[in-house]
């Protein structure tokens, strides 16, 4: 791969050594010429023309021409170079007062990614690609600080929706490629790093029945170092994804790591420092305000006298609560400023048949939540070795250690508590009541945070060995084997000092818990690629391969209730540790696949792909699934009849149809199982055996037939390029973890039940607005519209599938994640009581869940991005504006923050409540009794908590300055850049809650698919400002 470059580079180096520059003369001459592409014969812009060992340097213009004047006469070596192209070296003689002409034709470098696209199990030239594939460069990922690399994909590709996780360090983003087509099977795209589909279970360490998780989902991708990434390909349609068969339906994200590309020994160093804060702080009531509302509720309910807080379980007296000494702003105890730092050292060495890339990184990502940060230290070594002609060996190895210093959040505590149960009347140090010998106010959030030692440490190593051999000029065979090993440990230690605050009788040293888990994910594939140019006009290629993957995760739970420190930090004898095994889980795939391409005159391209997938998850009647696809691409601009339209530089139409699947669901759902007697109690002294699950022999992948048609065009000498794509995805056999009627004897059951369609258009436009010698201005705009509809839910009703506690449902003829709520009408001005609508639209004062209807959904109508890059001399300004149009936000927690007066603090918006007869208020009157809201149960959801989720956000803005070459000449640096980056600095929205971009902590994959944009005490997004330095030498 790299051998073409070294050869040429070697020549250049040798030439440079031979023909040294001669010293300067007073009188000068000039050099001029034209730079073209060797294959297309078209002029190339932006090629650097360097007169070696002098300061003379120029860049070719749009018409390919260049001109350098003022060169002293003599013989020089001139190097023509451009990213993604092979260097050209020429010798030239400059004469006084003469312009020497020197033209050059450059070739696209085989090793470069520019016009070569990584497709599954191979690569293709972008021209000939017939599928829908978006490419994002590594630089775009690393230029903005993000909690994890996938968050940086936001706005980078049309139709790829990225909801960045909250401002919690290391949080997971929610990514959906072309809408939502899964319900209970994970709806995330398949992530493939250097050929291995990596472990990506967001719920891996969630323990059943325990509150562990702390209101935060583990993000398995956070341990992947963004600086390792050369580029990312996002496969969107069936022509591209069906080669991944039963796992491709929700898109495939192919990550290629960096390899050595430059001759000799090179170093890159970068550093970044930054600070973060919330985009907006939660706006809660102060203590006097809260007390005033409590008093108001007290009197509204017809009570008299001094309000009694004990009705809501608050143990403070009214006088204590009114004592300003006790008042605390808990939000300020939890939210601070996060400090971020990132250092990266990368080395590159390339010799004759050996190349190595080494990367060392440290990232310390402190969130604005005090005490919360994610630290990642990582290493990567990628080796390329070509011992004999035709044999190419690649080894890729990485090791990273991610440490998340955890705090409670959301419903589990921390900021979530500051927004709810931690009332502003509670003092910093809890009040002690000597009569009951206990604290009568809760332990401070800062105390819990400081005393609780809680970390998750993830060690991950992704390794790949790839051997390819060119048997002859037509045939290459390739074998790849990979291991993705993940060792995930969660350590929690609660010292005696903390436990005694709850239990004064506690005598021991502290509770230490350890949840380790290990995932060994192995993959291997063998492919053979055969290419043949049959004649001048006809060429064919074929690829066939087979792959197997096996993953097993083992875990346990270890605890000690008399520990002086965390299990990983203090020596606790094994005998003192209580260990509980947890159920391992295991899955495997076996696959056979092939691809056939035919090209006519390099302008008409056909592709057929197919894959057979067998999986451990498929029922006995469906062991293998077949996933075919066919696509065609036609480069119309090559046709004679198009030549008359001179303004069209390039035009390609493509269309494809194919099938892909999603098999990312419960590993064991297909098996019929029985719980052994040893795990069950006895009845009447006799042992039991209880059926726990019925076999589902028909369980299989969900299947998506995807039609895609697109047109790509370039006009105005390539200054305007556009792409317009239409797609239609029809998903059937949708996996649903159906809450089946309990009269079956079960609560839920995995089955292939439903149907979903996604139909949409994607449009992107890239324009070069200004292109002069000093100034460049380019604009990138993309927008995607997706219409989602559930077309079948079998015999079930909306409540058979629920998005956790978030009141989203699966409703026929509505989109996935429909807000299914009782409609709120208004607050009765006379009484202050809420008025609802019943099913028929009549007003009622009774809240009845039977009156729920589809009132909104979590999916946006459209979203997109506007990016502008303006460079002037060495300065560059880059601004990304992300926009989201439509989609509802459901604030699940405000039923306690804007409604009933309880033991929660309230959102300041509640001040717009009914107080006196005749008031036209948004929120009902304050009351302590749910009956006054027409309900027999206290926590009721209505569409009063639903808002439009549209927003526009300045996602990132950065200003960079490249140090002039003249300055660098004196140093050893080849390049140096300084950059200022701001993220999420501005947001425009009508949403009245904290932040309109929401990915809360999810309970399971169904919840993750259905409850984006639902907030429950969710930590807001962060905004950050950073400064970054990059050096190359």
């Amino acid at each position: 791969m790299f051998t073409l470059i070294p050869t040429r580079k070697a020549i250049i180096s040798a030439a440079i050594a031979l023909f040294g520059a001669v010293s300067a003369f007073a009188q000068t001459g000039s050099l001029a010429g034209l730079v073209t592409d060797e294959s297309t014969k078209k002029p190339i812009e932006g090629v650097t023309i360097e007169v070696y060992k002098t300061d003379f340097k120029a860049k070719s213009l749009a018409n390919g021409s260049y001109n350098i004047s003022g060169i002293a006469p003599g013989t020089y070596n001139v190097i023509f170079s451009k990213d993604q192209m092979e260097d050209v070296l020429a010798k030239v003689e400059i004469k006084i007062n003469e312009t020497t002409n020197l033209d050059a034709a450059l070739k696209t470098a085989v090793s470069s990614m520019g016009d070569v696209v990584i497709v599954g199990y191979g690569r293709q030239s972008r021209r000939n690609v017939v599928g829908s594939i978006a490419t994002v460069s590594g630089k775009e990922i690393t230029d903005i600080p993000a909690p994890s690399f996938e968050a940086a994909l936001q706005g980078k590709a049309a139709g790829v929706q990225v909801i960045v996780g909250s401002g919690m360090a290391g949080s997971a983003s929610l990514i959906r490629v072309r809408g939502a087509s899964s319900i209970s099977a994970a709806g995330d795209p398949l992530y493939v790093v250097d050929g291995i589909p990596v472990s990506q279970d967001y719920f891996m360490n969630r323990t059943n029945g325990s509150n562990w998780g702390g209101g935060f989902n583990n993000n398995p991708l956070a341990s992947i170092n963004p600086d390792d990434i050369e580029n990312i390909e996002i496969l969107k349609d069936a022509a591209a994804t069906s080669i991944y068969g039963s796992r491709g339906a929700n898109g495939v994200i192919l990550i290629t790591t960096k390899r050595a590309r430059k001759q000799g020994l090179k170093f890159d160093v970068s550093a970044r420092w930054g600070s973060s804060s919330p985009t907006r702080k939660p706006d809660m009531l102060s203590a006097p305000e809260w007390l005033q509302l409590y008093e108001e509720a007290w009197y509204n309910d017809g009570r008299t006298g001094t309000p009694d807080l004990s009705l809501n379980g608050i143990r403070m007296s009214w006088a204590q609560a009114n004592d300003p000494k006790n008042h605390t702003n808990w939000i300020d105890q939890v939210i601070g400023h996060g400090f971020k730092q990132n250092y990266n050292l990368s080395t590159n060495y390339m010799g004759k048949n050996f190349a190595v890339k080494g990367i060392l990184s440290m990232d310390d990502n402190g969130s604005f939540i005090i005490g919360n940060k994610y630290n990642r230290v990582s290493e990567r070594i990628n080796l390329d070795y070509r011992p004999i002609k035709g044999l190419n060996i690649q080894l890729s190895q990485s090791l990273s250690r991610g440490t998340n210093t955890r705090v409670d959040a959301s419903w589990a505590g921390g900021l979530g508590s500051a927004m709810s149960t931690m009332l502003p009347i509670y003092p910093l140090s809890p009040l002690y009541d000597s009569a009951s010998k206990s604290y009568i106010t809760p332990v401070g959030l800062h105390t819990i945070r400081d005393l609780k030692n809680w970390r998750t440490i993830e060690v991950r190593s992704i390794n790949n060995a790839n051997v390819s051999y060119e048997v002859n000029k037509n045939l290459t065979v390739n074998y790849s084997t990979s291991i993705d090993y993940m060792d995930y440990n969660e350590y929690l230690y609660e010292p005696a000092a903390l436990i005694r605050m709850y239990n004064s009788n506690y005598q021991q040293n502290g509770n230490a818990k350890w949840y380790p888990s290990w995932t060994m994910n192995r993959n291997q594939f063998l492919t053979a690629q055969w290419n043949k140019e049959l004649s001048k006009n006809h060429s064919v290629s074929a690829m066939a391969g087979t792959e197997s993957q096996h993953s097993i995760t083992k875990s346990k739970y270890v605890e000690n209730f008399d520990a002086t420190g965390p299990i990983d930090e203090v020596a606790i004898p094994d005998t003192a540790l209580q260990a509980f095994s947890r159920t391992p889980y295991e899955w495997a795939f076996i696959s056979y696949f092939g691809r056939f391409n035919y090209s006519y005159k390099n302008k008409l391209n056909f592709q057929l792909t197919s894959r057979w997938d067998g999986s451990s998850r498929f029922g006995r009647n469906n062991r293998y699934g077949f996933f075919p696809a066919a696509a065609v691409g036609y480069i119309l601009s090559e046709e004679q009849f198009m030549k008359q339209y001179k303004w069209i530089n390039f035009m390609k139409v493509r269309a494809g149809i194919g099938k892909s699947g999603n098999a990312n669901f419960d590993n064991y759902a297909r098996w019929g199982t029985i719980t052994p007697s040893s795990n069950l109690p006895k009845y009447n002294g006799q042992p039991q055996l209880a059926p726990s699950r019925l076999e589902n022999p028909n369980l299989r992948w969900e299947s998506t037939v995807n039609f895609d048609a697109g047109i790509e065009m370039a006009f105005a000498k390539g200054r305007i390029s556009t792409e317009l794509t239409y797609y239609n995805k029809v998903t059937s056999d949708v996996i649903m973890n159906v809450s089946i009627p309990v009269s079956t004897g079960f609560g839920s059951f995995y089955d292939n039940v439903g149907g979903i369609t996604n139909e949409g258009v994607e449009f992107s436009l890239k324009t070069v607005n200004i292109r002069t010698k000093r100034t460049n201005w380019t604009t990138n705009f993309s927008i995607a519209r997706n219409v989602n509809e559930i077309t079948s839910i079998g015999v079930y009703t909306p409540d058979a599938i629920s998005g956790g506690t978030n009141d989203t449902r699966v409703v026929l003829n509505q989109p996935v994640g429909t807000n299914f709520l009782v409609r709120f009408s208004h607050v009765d001005p006379a009484t202050g009581a809420p008025v609802y609508f019943d099913l028929n639209g009549n007003q009622t004062t009774k809240w009845d869940p039977a009156n729920r209807v589809a009132v909104g959904n979590v999916l946006p109508k459209a979203f997109g991005n506007l990016a502008n890059t303006i460079s002037y001399k060495n300065w560059e300004l880059n601004a990304n504006i992300y926009f989201n149009w439509g989609g509802s936000i459901f604030e699940s927690s405000v039923k306690r923050q804007l409604s009933l007066m309880t033991d929660w603090n309230m959102d300041r918006r509640v001040l717009d409540r009914w107080q006196n007869p005749g008031d036209d208020a948004l929120y009902p009157k304050m009351t302590l009794s749910t009956f006054n809201h027409g309900s027999t149960t206290p926590w009721i959801n209505t569409d009063l908590w639903l808002q439009d989720g549209s927003y526009i956000r300045l996602r990132s803005i950065n200003i960079s300055y490249k140090l002039p070459a003249a300055w660098l000449k004196k140093s050893k640096f080849d390049a140096a850049r300084i950059m200022l980056v701001g993220t999420n600095l501005l947001t425009w929205t009508r949403y009245t809650g904290i932040d309109p971009e929401i990915a809360r902590d999810f309970e399971n994959p169904t919840d993750r698919n259905m409850s984006g944009s639902i907030t429950y005490l969710t930590t807001p997004q962060e905004k950050s400002v950073s400064v970054a330095l990059n050096f190359s030498f």
């Binding site: 002859n472 037509n474 045939l475 291997q524 063998l526 053979a528 055969w530 074929a542 066939a544 391969g545 087979t546 792959e547 197997s548 096996h550 159920t583 391992p584 295991e586 899955w587 495997a588 076996i590 056979y592 999986s615 451990s616 590993n667 064991y668 019929g672 199982t673 029985i674 719980t675 007697s677 795990n679 069950l680 109690p681 006895k682 009845y683 009447n684 006799q686 039991q688 055996l689 209880a690 059926p691 076999e695 809450s739 089946i740 009627p741 309990v742 009269s743 079956t744 004897g745 609560g747 089955d751 015999v795 079930y796 009703t797 409540d799 058979a800 869940p849 039977a850 027999t936 149960t937």
Partner: protein, 461 residues
Amino acid sequence: MKKNLFHSFALFLSMAIMGGAMVSCDNMIETPPPNELLVDDAIKTTDDLQRLLNASYNEVANTFGGFSQMMSEMQSDNLASPNNNDLRELHSHNVLFFNSTCGGYYSILYRAIFRANFVQDNMDKVADLSQADKDRMTGEIKFIRGLCHFTAVRMFAHPYGYSAKNDHPGIAIVKAASTKPSPRLTVAEAYDAILSDLKDAEAVLPESNGDYADKMSAKALLAHVYFQMGKYTDAANYAGSVIDSKKYTLSDTVNVFSADAASEHIFKIVSTGINDKRSGGYSDNYSPGNPTCQMSRELWANLNVDLAIDKRLKLLTVVNAGAQNEFVKSEMFNAPFFNVPVLHLTQMHLIRAEALAKSGGDLATATADINAIITRAYTDNSKLVASGSSAKQIIDATRTQRRIELLFQGDRTPEIKRLGAVESQNIFVRGHRWDCPGFLLQFPITEKTTIFEINPTGGCN
């Protein structure tokens, strides 16, 4: 050139085939779940089937150890409004489909049915299963199914007799282990299925079967079913055959939950010790200092006139007497654990007394039945039914005694429904007529499918 092409293509093919061989081991994609047994491995012997059946009894025990009885009492006029959101919805006859207590109750009834069906569907996996064991298990399966379906139809559907043809919505009848949703059948269809199961059970169950269901259990339950349907001749016959078998004798104690009353128990939920306590549905809800289940003030006002002579009222305590927070609690369930009789002899006497009187049967026997209960209950003879009393006199006395005898046993609500639907009484509870829509338990919302419409919410005004 051609040869070269052929060579490379052949090589390409052979590589592909080799690759196939490398991984074409289907065993690799067989990864059964750890820590659980696969059905085929787990069911090999009669003992395995017995254990599976015991798991069904386990669910029966969890339901009928007091939980089911409490759910029924809560709707009736026997209890005061509880301090519990879910149960208060039952008490106010306005149960939402999100009521998790009610949903849990429904699901446990059907889990018992599922587990029974699972045994039935897997019996053929045991080759050497004897005919006697097969019959017994089949009988037990059908008895459990009958008991649970009968309980469900009484609680979740309007009673037998609510509509002329009983074609009003009933319940799901599940007779095979499957994840396929079942339709909501009519009440007539439900009763047909229940009778059919119980008669099959009666035919194949052994005369005695330890603590598990036997022939008499099936007969006693049939007496209940017929009585609920207003088919009094059949009810009297079945109750009579249980009484006349002389297998059971009335005890002296007025607390049928006491160990001394074991001679009356026809089918019971067994608690073997404090670690295997199945009576929590009673003790947890009736025994604490301020219990969830407190007697309604109206009932107490009715009963306490006989405080001096009615021994049964000695099992009730007035707490905070005279104060605003006065309440009446039961002391019947204070033992740490006890057996809970689901079917017992007192019920048979009460059924036979009324059924004979209603169906023109032998009034002397009916009088003897009710007087056996009365004699035990009172310290004097003032309440005895005189011989030669009319059918109506016997019926009135029996109904009065029934309410006290079967207090807290979940009998009152079905009795109110029977009196309304079969006996055409205009009977109310807290101002709600027996047939108002909210006087039913509500199904959990997940029960709703295109073939199963759930009950409306509330609607009793």
